[in-house]
C-alpha cells in the first residue's frame, strides 16, 4: 500500500501476562507521520507461506514522532499474527507497517470523555489519554480486566492520571458499574468503548437506555476474520479463479494472488474494501459490521476483509 513504512523492532516488553508491547522505529530514521489517539496501523507479518496483515491500535504518545508502539495479546486461537509476535519476533527485525489511519477519533468538541476498556481494548485509550491530558480535557478511564496481573498499562496509567483511572479486576469480584457510569454525566459527554464484543454491546446499550444520543457513543471493533470452509472466487475482469483457504480471509487470498484491493481496518467496520458482486450462485456469509441488513440480504456488495462464501459461483468486480 502507499505510505508503507519499513520499521525496525527496537524494544519488546511484556506489559502484562500474555501482552507484549512492541516498539518500532523507522529504518531510515527521521520523523514518522503524525497520528492522533485512536489510530491504528496495519502490520504485515510472515506466517508460514502467507503474509498476515493485522491492524493494531497505536498505544504510544502521539507527540513522540520517533517511533510507534503497539501491544499485542496472545490470542488463544491465533491466526498467526499474535503467535508470531509472541514467539518469533526479535529486536532488530524489520516489519512493513502501513501509515496510521484513525477510525476511532475522539470528538474534540466534547466537554468530557469517558473511556471504557476491556482487556487488550485498552490500547487506543493509552494514546487518547496522552492527548486529553495535554489539552487539559476532562476524561476518565474505566478498565475491566481478568486480573491485575493481566492488566496491561494499569500501573503507568494510574501513575500518570491518578484517580481518573479506575480498574475493575474480575478475580477480585469487581465489575464495571455501567449503570452508574452513564448517570449524572454533564451534557456534552462522549463515551468510547473498546474490548470484547459483549462488553462493548453492554456499554453502548446501557448508555442508549439512559437516553444518550448515538452521536455521543463511539466503539472500536477489532475482529479477526473468521475461519471457515474453503471456497473459490472468480475475478470478473480477468476470469481468473482464486482459492480461499480455511484460515485465510478473502482479502488475504486476493493479496496472496498479487491483487491489492483497498482496505483500511481489515475488521469489517470502515467500508473501504466494499466490492461489487457481479454474479452469485450461493450465499455470502457476511461477517462485517458495515452493511445494513437490507444490503446483506441483497448481497450486491461484499466486504472482503471479513466475509466468506458458500456455494457454486461467486464473481467479483475485480
Amino acid at each position: 500500500m502507499m505510505g508503507d513504512l519499513q520499521m525496525r523492532v527496537t524494544a519488546l516488553h511484556d506489559e502484562a501476562a500474555g501482552i507484549r508491547r512492541v516498539r518500532l522505529e523507522p529504518v531510515e530514521g527521521g520523523l514518522l507521520p503524525a497520528f492522533s489517539g485512536g489510530a491504528h496501523v496495519v502490520v504485515a507479518m510472515p506466517d508460514g507461506d502467507v503474509t498476515r496483515r493485522n491492524p493494531y491500535s497505536l498505544c504510544c504518545d502521539p507527540e513522540d514522532r520517533t517511533g510507534y508502539e503497539i501491544a499485542v495479546a496472545r490470542a488463544a486461537a491465533s491466526r498467526g499474527g499474535s503467535a508470531y509476535i509472541h514467539e518469533r519476533l526479535a529486536v532488530g527485525d524489520v516489519l512493513t507497517v502501513g501509515a496510521p489511519t484513525n477510525l476511532f477519533q475522539p470528538d474534540w468538541r466534547a466537554k468530557k470523555h469517558i473511556l471504557v476498556a476491556g482487556g487488550i481494548g485498552i490500547t487506543p485509550f493509552v494514546a487518547m489519554m496522552a492527548q486529553f491530558a495535554r489539552a487539559g480535557l476532562a476524561f476518565e478511564l474505566h478498565y475491566a480486566v481478568r486480573s491485575r496481573a493481566a492488566a496491561a498499562f494499569a500501573g503507568v496509567l494510574q501513575d500518570r492520571y491518578g484517580p481518573r483511572v479506575k480498574i475493575y479486576a474480575a478475580d477480585e469480584g469487581a465489575r464495571l458499574p455501567l449503570g452508574a457510569l452513564v448517570q449524572n454525566q454533564p451534557l456534552g459527554t462522549h463515551l468510547y468503548t473498546c474490548g470484547p464484543e459483549r462488553l462493548m454491546d453492554a456499554v453502548l446499550e446501557t448508555a442508549r437506555q439512559a437516553g444518550w444520543p448515538e452521536q455521543a457513543l463511539h466503539s472500536e471493533h477489532f475482529m479477526a476474520p473468521p475461519p471457515g470452509d474453503p471456497f473459490t472466487v472468480t475475478l470478473g475482469r480477468s476470469g481468473r479463479d482464486v482459492a480461499v483457504a480455511p484460515d485465510q480471509s478473502l482479502l488475504e487470498a486476493l493479496e496472496a494472488a498479487g491483487i491489492n484491493p483497498r482496505y483500511l481496518c481489515r475488521g469489517g467496520v470502515c467500508g473501504e474494501c466494499a466490492t461489487k458482486v457481479v454474479e452469485l450462485r450461493g450465499t455470502i456469509l457476511h461477517g462485517d459490521h458495515y452493511l445494513t441488513p437490507e444490503e446483506r440480504a441483497e448481497s450486491r456488495t461484499i466486504m472482503i476483509c471479513m466475509s466468506r462464501f458458500s456455494g457454486d459461483r461467486l464473481v467479483l468486480d475485480l
Binding site: D107, Q185, P186, L187, G188, G211
Partner: protein, 200 residues
C-alpha cells in the same frame, strides 16, 4: 417544511419524542408551538412529567399559543423575546445531564441561534431534534460589516448596519446560525435588481 437541496443548508426532520430520554427540553418560537401541539398524542404523562417547555410568541403570524401549550401540563415558561429565551435555555442546559434531549421548533433563524447555545454545551447538532415552522425569513450576516439582520424576506435587501445592497446567498453558516449577504452593486453602484420576496 423546506427542502434540503443545498448541501450547507440544515435539514429539519420534524419533532418526534426520543423514547429513552430522561428529560426533554422544548424551545419553541412562534408557530413552532404547532410542531409540539401536533404530536400531543405522543406526550404521555410520563414524558410530560420530564419535560420543560420554553416558548416565545414572536411568530410569523404573530399569534401566541401560550394557552394551548400550558394545558399540555408540562413545566412551562414564556419569554417576552428571543434573547431571554436563549438565556433561559443556556441555564437549563448547564443544569442538565446526558440523557436530556433538546427539541427546537420555529423559524430557521431561531433554530440556528438556539443551536449555537446548545453547541456551547457540547451538544452535537445532529442529536438535536428540530422542525421548521413559520416564516421562511432568514437571518443574514453581511460579509462586509459582519452585522446580522433578522427577518430578511427579500433579496437583494439593504444591510441594516452598513447600508450596502446585499444579495442573500444560499450558504448557511452553522457557527453563526445565519446566511451570507454579499454586496451586489460593487462594480456599478446603484445597479440593483428589484428585490424579490423569496423567504416569506
Amino acid at each position: 417544511m423546506q427542502g434540503a437541496t443545498i448541501r450547507s443548508r440544515p435539514v429539519y426532520p420534524g419533532l418526534a419524542i426520543a423514547p429513552l430520554a430522561r428529560r426533554h427540553i422544548f424551545a419553541l418560537e412562534g408557530e413552532g408551538a404547532g410542531a409540539l401541539l401536533d404530536i400531543a398524542g405522543d406526550l404521555t404523562p410520563e414524558v410530560l412529567g420530564r419535560s420543560q417547555i420554553l416558548y416565545v410568541a414572536r411568530g410569523s403570524l404573530g399569534v401566541g399559543h401560550h394557552g394551548a401549550l400550558q394545558t399540555l401540563g408540562a413545566a412551562f415558561w414564556a419569554a417576552p423575546t428571543v434573547q431571554p429565551l436563549l438565556g433561559r435555555l443556556d441555564v437549563e442546559l448547564s443544569r442538565s445531564h446526558m440523557g436530556t434531549r433538546l427539541y427546537l421548533a420555529g423559524t430557521e433563524g431561531f433554530i440556528g441561534q438556539a443551536m449555537q447555545v446548545a453547541a456551547a454545551h457540547g451538544i452535537d447538532p445532529a442529536s438535536v431534534i428540530t422542525e421548521h415552522r413559520g416564516s421562511r425569513a432568514r437571518r443574514v450576516q453581511c460579509v462586509h460589516c459582519k452585522g446580522v439582520t433578522e427577518g430578511v424576506t427579500a433579496s437583494p435587501f439593504t444591510c441594516g448596519h452598513c447600508g450596502l445592497n446585499l444579495y442573500v446567498r444560499d450558504h448557511y453558516s452553522r457557527r453563526l446560525g445565519a446566511f451570507q449577504g454579499v454586496n451586489i452593486d460593487a462594480e456599478e453602484p446603484g445597479a440593483v435588481p428589484p428585490p424579490e420576496e423569496l423567504y416569506l
